[in-house]
Point group: C2
Chain length 300, copies 2
């Protein structure tokens, strides 16, 4: 870790808006730990290694996308996705859709779907019980309580005792039809714009893109309804989709995430809420759940 927010810190984009001129890199008048400083100073024990059996690796023509799955929230869907990946199901998949400020979605094109598709699954829009949560004190306009649960942005409702993953940028969910129990894990989407929080508790969320968001973001917008592509020629193929656990060691993705229950993460959140760098003249004193970076780095 060099101290800078590099390409691997794929969701960390919340720093200042300096000009590229020399003045932009002048030392601040008072020393303030930047987000990059806090991340660089985190102890090795504050990082967790992402488990290989939870990492879905998508090789696109222009590079690699890695998704951390969240079995704590959607055990049945995650098991299905893992099974689909290991069976090679997604190796014939394509990007089906890219809708501006919304999502990119992938799966098999209609004429490639196997006759015997896997059956639909019971919805896992939220999980029973109040799952562990590092709650934010900041108010949220959609949910009664939000924060981080096992590394993911999440929410809870004490009134009904349910917990759920929140649709922030980079989150991954399972497409479904009108019936809540119609998703089968064969079509997945990732959020590419402003967090579509209206989807929370309406669809099963299964994880988060931890590497390669720029590849999904770069998909041309589809010109069909809802951003679907109209012709096969517009659809980017997923060359190979693997669980990291099944990849040859030499090629295997090894990533670490800053633990959301660590002291350094607490400092990072606070530094985002109360901006102390001299650039800010009107610090918000507030941070939106989806504006908190979730740093990821290659395992040392």
């Amino acid at each position: 870790m060099t101290g800078r927010v590099d390409g691997v810190c794929a969701l960390a984009g919340i720093l200042g808006l300096m000009m590229a001129s020399p003045a932009a890199v002048a030392a601040p008048t008072q020393p303030v730990a930047s987000a990059a400083d806090i991340i660089a100073a985190a102890a090795p024990s504050e990082w967790r290694t992402l488990a290989a059996d939870r990492l879905m690796v998508i090789d696109l023509p222009k590079g690699r996308v890695v998704i951390e799955l969240a079995p704590d929230f959607a055990p049945v869907h995650v098991a299905r996705i893992r099974q689909l990946v290991r069976s090679g199901y997604f190796d014939r998949a394509v990007i089906l859709r890219s809708q501006p400020n919304y999502v990119v979605q992938w799966g098999l094109p209609e004429d490639h779907r196997p006759a015997s598709a896997p059956g639909p699954l019971k919805a896992e829009f939220d999980a029973p019980g109040l799952l562990p949560l590092e709650a934010l004190p900041d108010r949220d306009s959609y949910a009664p309580e939000v924060g981080f649960s096992v590394g993911f942005p999440a929410a809870r409702d004490w009134a009904d005792g349910r917990s759920w993953l929140v649709h922030c940028y980079g989150m991954v969910g399972v497409g479904r039809d009108n019936s809540p129990d119609s998703g089968d894990g064969t079509e997945l989407y990732a959020v590419t714009g402003h967090s579509p929080r209206q989807l929370d508790r309406n669809i099963t969320v299964v994880g988060r893109v931890v590497l390669g968001m720029e590849l999904l973001q770069a998909m041309p917008f589809g010109t069909g309804d809802l951003g679907f592509y109209r012709t096969p020629a517009e659809m980017t193929p997923l060359r190979k989709v693997s669980m990291a656990q099944d990849m040859p060691l030499a090629d295997r993705v090894r990533l670490q995430a800053l633990r959301t229950d660590s002291e350094s993460f607490r400092k990072l959140v606070d530094s985002r809420r109360n901006r102390r760098d001299p650039w800010f003249v009107h610090p918000a004193g507030h941070v939106d759940l989806c504006n908190v970076p979730l740093p990821v780095r290659p395992a040392p």
Copy 2:
């Protein structure tokens, strides 16, 4: 306008998450006007034609980006930008930076900056007075009052009598150094991820991308600090930057936006707040300012 949300409705991505299978396009059990239906049914008088002297047109190697400028909020900066564009200043500009879930920024690379650069401008982080606003009833976690002002997402504070443009996806602002009065209009950025609301009232916002967001989104993430590119080879050139008013008629961009003070827009906002389509099982009953689409179409 065909009724679908096409590529020109660049910020309209807030529809459902259907699967691509035939079931996904089955008729809903009860007829509900979709966002696309509401937009398609809007009367001609509910659309405003974007003024050619407010449209900044950036021709990138892969296509065209169009920005609507907002002189009501930042008159001095908008005048400066228009002057820079008309003088050809940006024709040697490049994409300087792409930071994940944050912004894309452009300007002249350091070794191409003219010796006599234009002087810095006084900050226009907010505007004096309570500018006209179609206020949302929905609570906002950053500002006391939010809504739409002359077609832009905006906020007001009655306590200090100021109004400002809000950093939603696609909004464009002016890079500056640590001094609030250091921006000079030569470096601009566009928001490409979750709305960085902490920037509100900390930087001068001058407009919104109304066409071509996918081209900015597709820029590879920079690997330098804050997503800046390290080498000239990584920087995409801006081939030509023009004010629409100066373009030959045949090539001129002619766009319309749905008026934010129209009845159809009010219906559109309500349809986003209270989802009545049968797909939703937990309608949020709330809409975030930055989740409201601002439809744009080619002028008929």
